[in-house]
Structures are given as C-alpha cells and as structure tokens.
C-alpha cells in the first residue's frame, strides 16, 4: 500500500532554500537534529531493517544441518535452482513465474489502454469529472483486496465461463488492485503539464488529434507512464490474495507451495524478487526525483507554476 512515491518528491519549487551555510554559528536552536543524533537514529533503524535481509542471504547459503554447532555454507542451493534434475520439483515455481509475467503484461496493457487514455480524455474534455475519476481510482485502497476477492469469486465463475479458467484472466482483477498505484504517477504528471494549452497550441498549428496525442501529450507524460508501469509490475509480482482465492498458480502462490518442500529455494526466489523490486523502484525514484536538466527539444519544461 505505498501511497505514491512520485508525488512525494515533487516539492515546492519556489520554496525558499534553507539558509544553508549562513553565518549563524552553532545552530543549536535549529529544528533539525545534530549529526550525532541523526547518525544514531538512522544507524539503529538501518541495522534493524537490514537484519531480515541478511538473515535471508545467510539462510539461502546454508548447507546441511550444523555439525557441532558449526554451520557449513555454500552456493549449492543457488546451483540447484538451475539444475535440470530439479526441473520437476521446481516446475510449479517456474510455471508460476511465467504466469505472473503474463499477468503483468496484460495488467500493464489494461493500464495503458484503459486507464491512461481515460485520464487524458477526462483532462481534455471532461475536467469536471477529474475528481470522480480520482475517487474511483482510490477506492481499491479503501476496500481491502481480501474483501474484493469475496466478490471476485462469483464474478470469476462467469469470467471462467467466457474465457476459460486461465491464469491470465486474473489480470482483470489485478488491474483493479493496481489502479491507485498506477493512477497517481500519471495524475501527478498530468497536473504538472498544461495538457489543454499544449493540445490547443498544437491544434492551432495544424496538428491532428493523433499527432497531438503521439507527439505532444504522450512524450510529455513519459515519466508518469513509466513510473506507473513499473509500480504496476511490482504490485503484480507481489500479488497473493487474489491468486490464492481464485486458485491460480502465480509466483507468490507457487512460493508458498515450494516452501513446504524446499524452503531454501523459496527464500532464494524471494531474494531475487526483492532485488528486482528494488531495482524497479529505484528507477521510479530516479524518474520521480526530477533532475530537471534541460533536455534538447522537448516541451517538457513547460511546468505549471503554483498559483
């Protein structure tokens, strides 16, 4: 339930820079903590939060039971993952990963084909509906997925009748869960550019609606779109509730299955997924943190001044 990392970083551009380095002397009155206090707080919290990660790595490297209180370590479990001998044992896990990737792709498609055009459309033609759209997109945060899933069960007995009971059909349900996360980065981006002015300007220069969309609006929304695609992928890969209620095999449900027979492999894949999510989200952070260096061409510097 991350509430938008992208909007959090768009801080007020006209806020006065803090009087850094001004000759005030020892700033004991200042609101901010001293170096030592900051170091102690962040050090303790940082170490505590590192422990489970370190424990996972340690766990995945264990070889056999400890002898005389000494634990042997090695990369055996990592090698075993890719050993063809085990392909039957881990088959369900790899199938789950394949299914999850498929669900990812279709969910991203739902975001790009259903959500994004609607958001642009509302911005251009129905600005009055903006609040309503936001409200709809936020609802899935208010209704826990465990509640929604109770309603998905009967809906999916109909869906299975139409499309068959394939894992990819989960995308429809997951697309709803993803809405709040996908909505925010695009909305923040839309707010930062003058969509109406941009489209009117290009229209008056003779552009058709297609080129307005593909050459003016979408390039300006690149950042928001990328962020919301990445966060969608992160959410889909971590989704467990819906898959488990609708008894489909995805990455997360397969992890639970495999964990009973081979906890090491489960931990190894959880580690991989964590690293993957970290890379994705660091990338989003880079996109969001804005480094507004002027780009060649591109009208992206046309940002709205706060009134």
């Amino acid at each position: 339930m991350t509430v938008s990392t992208a909007t959090a970083t768009t801080s007020d551009p006209i806020a006065p820079k803090a009087v850094r380095g001004s000759p005030v002397g020892p700033r004991s009155f200042a609101a901010e903590p001293g170096r030592v206090v900051r170091g102690i707080i962040l050090g303790i919290v940082g170490v505590v939060f590192l422990v489970p990660i370190v424990a996972m790595i340690e766990f995945s490297l264990r070889v056999g039971q400890p002898v005389d209180g000494r634990q042997a370590y090695g990369f055996q479990h990592f090698v075993a993952v890719f050993d063809p001998v085990n392909s039957r044992a881990y088959g369900v896990l790899f199938q789950g990963i394949v299914n999850s990737i498929g669900i990812c792709a279709i969910t991203v498609l739902i975001v790009l084909v259903l959500l994004l055009p609607t958001m642009i459309f509302v911005e251009l033609k129905f600005p009055g509906l903006r609040r309503a759209l936001e409200f709809v997109c936020i609802i899935p945060i208010t209704i826990p997925s465990i509640v929604l899933v109770v309603g998905f069960v009967p809906v999916y007995s109909v869906v299975a009748g139409i499309f068959g009971s394939h894992p990819w059909t989960l995308s429809f349900a997951v697309g709803i869960i993803v809405l709040p996360y996908a909505y925010r980065p695009i909305a923040a981006n839309l707010r930062a550019i003058e969509v109406v002015v941009l489209s009117e300007a290009s229209r008056s220069l003779g552009a058709g609606w297609t080129s307005v969309l593909t050459r003016v609006i979408l390039p300006n929304l690149r950042r928001g779109i990328l962020s919301s695609v990445f966060i969608t992928i992160a959410v889909v890969l971590g989704e467990y509730t819906i898959a488990s209620f609708l008894s489909q095999n995805t990455f997360q449900t397969a992890l639970i299955l495999v964990q009973h027979t081979d906890p090491y492999v489960a931990v190894i894949f959880a580690l991989f997924a964590l690293i993957f999510a970290f890379v994705l989200l660091v990338f989003i952070g880079r996109l969001g943190s804005g480094s507004p260096r002027p780009r060649r061409g591109g009208p992206r510097r046309l940002t709205r001044r706060p009134e």
Partner: protein
C-alpha cells in the same frame, strides 16, 4: 496526500469544454471502456462482497447472517485484528516519525535521502509471502537470530517459545514484529512531505524570541505536524488491518479477520450462518470507511501548512 489533487487548479480547462458543446454528446462514449471495466470488476465485486452477507444461500434477503458478529471466535478475530493494527500503527508511526526527524536538514536530492526513499518504497511494498520468508529466516525456529540466541546460551528464548505455544513467529503476537517491517517505511513515505513542510524560518523566529529547540518542537513543530501524524497513523492502521498474505503464510490456524474470511469462504458452515465471509467483508468495509473518513478530514487540516 489525498488532498493534493483537491488543490489542483481547475481554471485553465474551461476553454476546451465550451468550444465543443455539440461534440460532447458523442465524446462521452470515450469514457465507456474504462467505466465498463470499473463497473464489472470493481463495483460488481464490491457490491457482491458486501451484499452477499444480507442474503440466504437460497437468495432471499435476511438480516440473520449478522448473527455471525455474535460468534465469540469472530469477535476475537476482530479484536485481534484491531489490536495488531493499533499496535503496529502506533509503533510504526512513532519510529517512522523519528526517522523523518533524523532526515530533517539533509539535502532532498542527496545520497542519504535517495537511499532512504528508495529503501522505504521497496520495503513498504515488501508485504506478503516474501516478508514472511524473511522473518522465518530471521526469527523462525531455524532463524538467524533464534540460533544466535541459542548459541549464546539463551536456549529458551522468546522467539523459540512464546507463551508456551511454540515459536513467536507463528502466533498472532508475532505478526506485530513482521508488520512493523512495512509499517515504518510506509510512515517514512507518507510523513516525510509533512516534515519537510516545516519552514526553517519558524525555527529561526522561535529562536529569536528566545525559544530553545525543545520549545520549538513542543510549541510549534508538534502541533503543526499533529494532523499529518495522525492521518498517517490512520493510514498505517488501515494498511495492517487489510493485510492478508503475510498472515496467511505464517498463521495456519487463523485468528485475524482476513484469515477468518478465507476460512469461511472455503467452508461455509463453521458459524452455522450462510455467507459469513460476506458479513465479515461488510465488517471490514465499515471499519475502513470510518478510518478513511477520519483520514480525509485530518489530511485536509494537514494540507493547510503544506502549501
């Protein structure tokens, strides 16, 4: 953060709407795909989930199912859910706020902040099955910390046997530790913007009037941050209240409401009432609506100082 959209100016858009009054009758067709999707996969499941509690299995309207709330097991599960959510929300909010305080005065594009931001957004997403594995490897029976405590002479430590009911991790109390792992990062993400809203001029004003750092925080900083703090606290509460996957991976015998919903939907007869999962879903939604209303109100107050 919800109110961020509320202050988005809606002034520039009037031109586009007025210029095409005739085409608007056709234009709303563009909203249909998304509206249809949301109707089928959000509105219908939500209504089915909450509404199913009011019907007998034969389909007749009834209020008799609400008797499920009188079941002592259900009441215990609700209390346990609320207890865990309250404890992890308060602890997570306090620890998270302290981390935010430690980050005050660091450059928002510096290495430290980028690292903490990215780590927080990953860990706040890091719910579910993988989080459970991380803690199995940390404080489970074979966990790093558990084994370390044993090897340093604490054979009967709290992680190995809590309340004489086996490892702490597989009990409801153990969830508190696990949930904090995503609660604290979520607090950092949601509370940091408010913390950054504190103007350095306020600290300087307080200092010129003879205030110490203590008086600044107790008389200015904390009162200003209070609405944002409690708003984030409610968000944290809602977050752990609706969390399902982590508990599902750790607790086999249930004990909190999301798990009770799962049990009831797989075997309908435990309480002797039809559609109990619908009734429980209704209970969760009521709690969430109360929380979100309070959140929106607090957020409106908090945004006063964040301009």
């Amino acid at each position: 953060m919800m109110s961020a959209a509320a202050i988005a100016p809606a002034t520039t858009t009037s031109g586009a709407g007025v210029s095409t009054p005739r085409r608007r009758s056709v234009a709303w067709l563009g909203l249909l795909p998304f509206a249809g999707y949301v109707l089928l996969f959000l509105a219908v499941p939500a209504v089915l989930a909450v509404g199913s509690g009011f019907f007998t299995r034969a389909g007749a309207f009834t209020l008799a199912n609400l008797a499920a709330f009188a079941d002592p097991n259900i009441q215990k599960a609700f209390l346990a859910s609320i207890g865990i959510s309250a404890l992890t929300a308060v602890a997570g909010a306090v620890i998270g706020a302290v981390v935010c305080f430690a980050l005050l005065g660091t450059r928002s594009d510096g290495f430290l902040r980028t690292a903490v931001d990215s780590a927080s957004s990953v860990l706040a997403q890091f719910g579910g099955v993988m989080l459970a594995f991380a803690f199995i490897a940390t404080i489970g029976q074979q966990g790093l910390i558990t084994k370390w405590l044993i090897s340093s002479g604490l054979a009967d430590n709290v992680f190995l046997n809590f309340n004489n009911q086996g490892p702490l991790l597989y009990q409801i109390s153990g969830l508190n530790i696990v949930y904090l792992y995503f609660q604290v990062p979520l607090m950092v993400l949601t509370f940091m913007p408010a913390m950054e809203g504190l103007k350095s001029t306020w600290a300087e004003a307080s200092a010129t009037l003879g205030g110490t750092r203590l008086t600044y925080w107790t008389r200015i900083g904390m009162p200003i941050l209070a609405p944002a703090f409690f708003g984030s606290l409610i968000l944290l509460f809602a977050n752990s209240f609706s969390s399902y996957a982590t508990a599902a991976a750790l607790l086999s015998q249930g004990g909190i409401i999301p798990l009770a919903i799962k049990q009831q939907s797989s075997s309908e007869t435990v309480v002797g009432v039809a559609n109990v999962s619908g009734v429980l879903a209704l209970g969760m939604v009521v709690v969430m609506i109360v929380l979100m209303t309070a959140y929106a109100a607090l957020q409106r107050r908090a945004s006063r100082w964040q301009r």
